[in-house]
């Protein structure tokens, strides 16, 4: 089965796809898709958005604007607007590096947790699982791309592009309201990625759904818990 076959199987017959990934863990194809898709949409976003406006909004939301004079704020906003292209490139590169680092950390966690719980797989296999299972996040890339291509405004943040996020679909929290960032970061693609990860671990371990869910989602639960506590603490 080639990479496209695995991708197709992931959609229609996920168990078969995970068996294939277990046997032949391909990393480059899903990783490149994720890096190019995410970094590409980030770069595009920075070409379209009014970066001065976005910087002003972020400085006010973070409270930094209160410590700045009107003139300093004006200078920062103006500089942001003037260096939009460079900012796009830098952020895209950082995004690409962050993706690699994140999947590496997740894979290390799977390796360690696997050794403890006797799910014996190599680092390469876990890395492949991480990459393949996160391919649904490309749905966000696609919908964001459609939004960027069709928008008439230049004043929006990246969270507003995520039409599949829980915030956009159900909660409709406004910018600055508690939970806005968290609910905008999680959406249907992320939930689908979590489901695939749980399923993948279940296929590879042969254990129950509960074991697979705890095994897979523990790091995400810890991270989300910390973020939620931090958000509540700030609000």
């Amino acid at each position: 089965m080639n990479s496209f076959g695995v991708l197709q199987a992931l959609v229609f017959e996920p168990k078969k796809a995970f068996a294939e990934i277990g046997e032949r863990p391909r990393i480059l194809f899903p990783l490149l898709l994720l890096i190019l898709g995410t970094a590409g949409i980030t770069f595009w976003f920075y070409q379209v958005v009014d970066l001065g406006w976005l910087t002003d909004r972020q400085l006010h939301a973070g409270g930094s604007a209160r410590q700045m004079t009107e003139q300093q704020l004006e200078t920062v906003v103006k500089a942001a607007g003037e260096h939009q292209g460079v900012a796009g490139v830098i952020t895209a590169v950082i995004t690409a590096v962050a993706i690699v680092i994140a999947y590496t950390l997740f894979s290390l966690y799977y390796l360690l947790a696997g050794k403890i719980t006797n799910v014996q797989r190599s680092f390469r296999q876990w890395f492949a699982l991480s990459c393949w299972c996160n391919l649904p996040t490309l749905l966000t890339v696609i919908t964001s791309g459609i939004m960027l291509a069709t928008t008439t405004s230049t004043q929006f943040d990246d969270a507003e592009l995520k039409v599949l996020s829980l915030n956009a679909l159900f909660f409709h929290r406004a910018f600055g309201e508690p939970g806005y960032a968290l609910l905008s970061a999680i959406g249907l693609p992320e939930l689908l990625a979590m489901y695939l990860s749980v399923l993948g671990v279940r296929v590879w371990s042969g254990r129950s759904w509960i074991f697979s869910a705890i095994f897979t989602l523990l790091p995400a639960a810890v991270i989300l818990g910390v973020v939620a506590l931090f958000t509540m603490g700030r609000s």
């Binding site: 009014d50 406006w53 002003d56 909004r57 749905l139 956009a168 249907l188």
Partner: protein, 415 residues
């Protein structure tokens, strides 16, 4: 998985992605909430800013003409006094002793005159008698000459005593004047703005301000003034009679009204700064404000002429300025006009301005609705953006279109 099932999965995925995207696209970008104001013709009152200090019309520094220790002080700072009122008294003992000595000397001089006069009379009588004896040849020439000499000498002695008496009399007069100067009286009616000496201190006569020379400062409080320094680039627009608003440093939220009374002919050069001209502004008295002479103040002088006519004007915050791209190019000014729920940018020519409004000679007409705020929304507004009017008291923060904010500083004006 069968072909039908695959089709269903693909359809479900397409639906999950397509519906939210379609909904968001249909809803479009939310209109930005803005404040608007209708353009009107207004009289623009440009002002010139200047700083200076508060002062009274006349201030007199009272110094002592004699040296002496302050024995009694009858006033304190802030007292109202009338012309001629006794303010302080220096210890007169030394001067009085001098007067007594000179009075005694004068009496002695008068006695000396009497003595000389008696001597002169005696010598005159003796000379008359000896003259007859000489004519009858009873006495010789030597004896006669001796008597005549004695008569002449006694006359000179009388004159000398008289002159001595006059000299003593002049000294006495001078000493009495000195004695009178140990009492300092108010030269004008007014208010004591400074009392710099205390009982027991020594007053020193001096033309320059050395310690102990300035005793009191008395001011005519009938008229209050602000003396402000107007920059040489602005002074040509300042003429007597113009109205001004004076804001004292201690009461930034209060002000006096005043009118320009004089504009100095000669400039004042402050080192490190440009030249400026002293402008004296007479204040209208106000019972709300306490006047403190010497207090720093700011003056806003209205330079509008009496024949000023209304011109098309917009709020200053509505005008956005763009720096010129090239050296010879003029800086561009623009305002947003609200047309059919959209912000339409108009390039304008801005003219004179006051604190609130700026005259527009080209680019906008009276009656049009222009966008005046909130400043954060206005700063990032683009030509063609959808906008909706929000009341000033329900000001939008500008953080997110459609979200009401709390912290806008834009003026509360809606049509």
């Amino acid at each position: 998985m069968t072909g039908m099932k695959k089709l269903l999965v693909v359809a479900a995925l397409a639906l999950v992605m397509g519906v939210p995207v379609a909904m968001r696209m249909k809803r479009g970008g939310e209109a930005k909430q803005v404040q608007v104001e209708t353009v009107e013709a207004r009289i623009i009152s440009p002002t010139i800013l200047a700083s200076g200090s508060l002062t009274y019309q006349t201030e007199i520094r009272i110094m002592s003409e004699v040296m002496g220790r302050v024995k009694e002080l009858y006033v304190k700072e802030g007292d109202q006094v009338k012309q001629g009122d006794l303010l302080l008294r220096l210890d007169p003992a030394t001067v009085r002793a001098q007067v007594d000595r000179l009075e005694a000397g004068l009496m002695q001089s008068q006695l000396a005159i009497e003595r000389a006069r008696v001597g002169a009379d005696t010598a005159e009588t003796k000379w008359t008698r000896y003259q007859k004896l000489r004519e009858s040849g009873v006495i010789d020439a030597n004896t006669y000459d001796e008597v005549r000499s004695q008569r002449d000498q006694s006359k000179v002695e009388l004159q000398s005593a008289t002159q001595q008496s006059r000299q003593t009399e002049a000294s006495l007069k001078e000493a009495r004047e000195q004695l009178a100067k140990t009492e300092l009286r108010a030269p004008i009616s007014g208010r004591l703005t400074a009392v710099k000496i205390k009982i027991g201190e020594t007053a020193v006569p001096s033309a320059t301000s050395i310690a102990g020379s300035d005793l009191l400062v008395i001011a005519d409080t009938t008229n209050l003034y602000a003396e402000v320094n107007v920059n040489e680039t602005d002074v040509a627009r300042v003429v007597p009679g113009q109205q001004a608003r004076i804001v004292p440093a201690a009461f930034p939220d209060k002000s006096w009204q005043g009118s320009v009374e004089t504009v100095a002919v000669s400039p004042v050069q402050v080192q490190g700064q440009g030249k400026s001209y002293l402008v004296k502004i007479r204040l209208t008295k106000s019972s709300d404000l306490q006047f403190h002479t010497g207090m720093s103040c700011r003056a806003e002088i209205e330079t509008r002429g009496t024949d000023a006519t209304p011109v098309t004007a917009v709020p200053v915050q509505a005008v956005q300025y763009e720096d010129a791209q090239e050296r010879d190019e003029k800086a561009k000014s623009g305002i947003f006009v609200m047309v059919n729920g959209k912000a339409v940018k108009h390039e304008v020519e801005a003219g004179i301005a006051d604190d609130t409004y700026v005259a527009i000679s080209k680019g906008v007409k009276t009656g049009e609705q222009i966008i005046t705020g909130p400043s954060k929304v206005l700063r990032f507004l683009h030509d063609g953006d959808r906008v909706s009017v929000v009341a000033a008291d329900a000001d939008a923060s500008g953080d997110k279109p459609g979200v009401k904010g709390k912290d806008s500083k834009a003026p509360a004006k809606t049509p």
